[in-house]
Every structure is written in structure tokens, then in C-alpha cells.
Symmetry: C2
Subunit: 258 residues, 2 copies
């Protein structure tokens, strides 16, 4: 039986989603919990990686429950949560078709990004928001975000992962890119059919720079329409916003698949 | 020059407010930052201790700035914050009268307590709320909280600190004790002229038990009016709520003093 998990986590305590040697990752924690329940190793397939420090409210993953387990899908939720730290919570478990795949069946993803303009960042937002003490112009922010809508070659808004080839496809379609005002800050929302490595952080960083007068409309235009090279990797790239404010809000699938 | 600091912190990473050997405490962190700025040791006096895991949005402390420092009080805020972890923030610094004392001049304190009734506690509320999966009756909660109003001997709602004597005064006056509904939970608010050790956690725990039918009105009456002994120390006392949901919201002083 193939099961789909919806997962929320605080990224602060983990080295991202994906299992890597000698680090504490969300995928590894959940695979360990699955193995404890199933008594056999279980492989978990996520909708995609999230970087170290990136949060999730609606990450999705699937696994195949061993045949000997006749547990109701619903019962996996408390069974796993009791074996996970409180900063990782399984919020849903449901049966899906045998050909459902958390990554390949995904039609769209939505991320939010929390900007805090508080004069002093409250301690509870440490590692959960990007603190920008400098004011920004909300009209310019809105305009920059609207600029991303549609299908573009976003290579100028991504970092090199190391496995790119001449055939790597950098075209992505953004269907939502806007913000709402929240107390002492802004919550940006991005929906797209997929996102390149660190792309939401680049979209955010560039929009913030535009809203502070450091980038103009034609700079953004050039980045989107004459993408000659991928910016170097690293949080220190001037266009790349920190991981802290980023949350994977949800992953959308065709109703038939789930 | 005597200066009054207002301080916010997430209690999760610290062993409480007060300096203790071989532990990481908020007071020690701030005294170290003060010494770095002042270049001499500086003693910081808090309005009172908060236990390990207890949060603060408006803790207050005072110190005497060394005479050689001619810094504007306002400039202490960024000077200290750059030397503190992001989970401790100085939010205000102002000059006060030479006889102001953060502890002895305090007229009232207000605490909040966050109860979460979410089916699954969101990862961002881990260590910030008391997760009560069992439903409670809001009318009984309101009634129990109102019961605390006024002046009572609260020894049945406190834990032994070890320095109690025959003359220890357990009378305290509570001027606010109520709650508001928040998404998937309740935020309790308590204001009083002072609180005994762990008192807010006992008030909360007893009110929750009353709202779940485990304690009746006359049980609360007996605890308040026939307090024969102090309950044993420890989080495992059935009336003592966990530290997680507790926040010191503010400390009030006479306007003339500050």
C-alpha cells in the first residue's frame, strides 16, 4: 500500500530535508521512525529537497507500507509522531494510487517567505524571518513580484547544484507571486510548477533589492530575458535571501493521483 | 547613571534567568554583553527569576552604567543586541532614578500562558505552548480563573524554593485572571502584585484541571482557603503546568520611579 505523508517541520534544527552523511536531516528522522514502526527499512520519497534552515508546513512524501502491516493509514500519524522530535510533525497520512510519486506527480508548489521590518527582531522570529532593518517600498515590491509571473528561463535566479548539464531545463512557470502585509513585515507567496535550486530565495532577494532601489525594472528584465549564466552558489550572493524566512507551504497534486 | 532594560527572550535555549554555575542563563549572557561594552564587570538586577524554558517579552532589569561611559541610554540597545544571541533581545533602555530597583520597585507583573488544543501541535509551537489534546470547557476555565481574583494565601499554588521561613508571606493579590480564544487554543493572562515560585504554572494547571472536570469549585476553594502545606517541588506535580507555555509579558512600575 502506497501512503502519502504531509509533514510540517521547523528547519532550524536540521541540515535540510535530504539524507546526507553525518548530518541530522528531516528525511532521515522520518525514515528512522518508519523503520521503528514497520520493523523493516522503509524508503521515503520527498516532493523535493528543502535546504538547511528552510521550514515546511506542507512538505509531502510517499512510502510503500510493507505488506505485513495492516495498519489503517490514519494510525500512522500518531505512530510516527511519538517517535519524532516535536519540531517534526506528520499532519496527514492517506492511501494513494500505486503510481503516485511525491516528486514526479507534483503539479505545483507554494512557498511563503517572511520578511520582518521590526526595528528589533523578536526572539521568537529568530531563524524564522529575514530581518530587514532598512525600509522598503511596497509598491516596488509588488511590481517586482508581478514581474516574475508567467514562464521564464529562471537560471539567473538559481544556484548551481553541480549536476547541471547542457540539457538542463531552466524554464519554470510562476502562477502566483505577491505579498500580504503582516504585523511589522510582509509575507511573500510564490506558486509555480517547479522551482530551481534556491530559486525562491533569489526571487525574494531580487524583489527586496528592487523595493529598496538597488535594482531597477530593466535589471530584472535583463535577468529574466538574457540569462547568460547561473550565479555562483552561496548564501552570500547578493540576490539570494537567507533560508530563515522560507517555508514550503504546500505541494499540489491532481486529485486523481491522491 | 542607573539604566532600566526591557528584555525579550525565548526561554527554550536557556536554563532560566538567574546566573547559576555551569549553565547558560539569560542574566549571564546579558552581564557578559554589558561587560564587553563597559570594559568592566557590570551587575544586572532582574525583576525576578524566570525558570528554565519560560519565555519573556517584557522582562525588566537595571544596572549602573560606569561613570566613564557617556553613552546615550538609547545606544545601549544596539550595542548589547550585537553581542547577544538572536533569542535574547534588548527592546528598550532608559535612564531611571538612582533609587529605582527592577525587583523592589515593581508594582505588578503580567504573565501569559499559551494552551494549544490543536490535534497535532505545530512544530513552531514546540516548547512555546502546553499541548492539551483533551478538550476543555471554556466556561469552567473562565470560572476557575475568576476564582483567583483578589487577595489570597497562595501557598497551595507554589513550589518550595528552599529558602522559606516561618515568616514567609504567601499573600498575593491577583487583579487579572482571564483568557482569550486564539487559533486552536487559549491565551491565559494573569496580573498580580507578585507571584510565588511556579505560581502561574500552578494557577494554570489547576484551572485546566477544573475545566476538564478533574477539580471542582470547592476543591479550588479549599486550596485557596485552607492552605495547609506547600505542594512538593517539581514539574511532575499534577497541578503544575509545564514551563513551555509561560511568558513574562510585562513588569509595571510607578511612573515616578521610571
Amino acid at each position: 500500500m502506497r501512503l502519502k505523508l504531509t509533514i510540517a517541520y521547523s528547519g532550524t534544527d536540521f541540515a535540510g530535508w535530504q539524507i546526507q552523511p553525518a548530518t541530522d536531516t528531516v528525511q532521515e528522522r522520518i525514515e528512522k521512525a518508519l523503520a521503528e514502526v514497520a520493523k523493516v527499512p522503509v524508503r521515503l520519497h520527498g516532493s523535493g529537497r528543502t535546504d538547511a534552515g528552510v521550514h515546511a508546513l506542507g512538505q509531502v512524501a510517499h512510502f510503500d507500507a510493507p505488506d505485513h502491516l495492516t495498519m489503517n493509514p490514519f494510525n500512522w500519524v500518531p505512530a510516527l509522531n511519538t517517535k519524532l522530535p516535536p519540531t517534526i510533525r506528520i499532519t496527514e497520512c492517506e492511501e494513494v494510487a500505486a503510481d503516485f510519486h511525491a516528486r514526479f506527480s507534483a503539479l505545483a508548489k507554494t512557498y511563503t517567505y517572511h520578511l520582518s521590518l521590526a526595528p528589533i527582531l523578536p526572539p521568537f522570529l529568530a531563524k524564522r524571518a529575514w530581518h530587514i532593518p532598512r525600509q522598503l517600498n511596497p509598491d516596488d515590491l509588488r511590481e517586482a513580484l508581478a514581474f516574475y509571473l508567467g514562464t521564464h528561463d529562471f537560471r539567473a535566479f538559481s544556484a548551481n547544484r553541480g549536476n547541471e548539464t547542457a540539457d538542463t531545463d531552466y524554464l519554470r512557470t510562476i502562477t502566483r507571486s505577491d505579498f500580504e502585509q503582516i504585523p511589522e513585515g510582509y509575507l511573500l507567496t510564490f506558486t509555480g510548477n517547479g522551482f530551481l535550486y534556491k530559486m525562491v530565495r533569489f526571487l525574494t532577494g531580487a524583489a527586496v533589492q528592487a523595493s529598496q532601489g538597488f535594482l531597477r525594472q530593466d535589471d530584472l528584465y535583463n535577468l529574466l530575458h538574457s540569462p547568460t549564466e547561473i550565479p555562483p552558489t552561496g548564501q552570500t550572493h547578493p540576490l539570494c535571501a537567507p533560508a530563515d524566512g522560507l517555508t514550503l507551504l504546500e505541494v499540489n497534486y491532481d486529485n486523481l493521483a491522491s
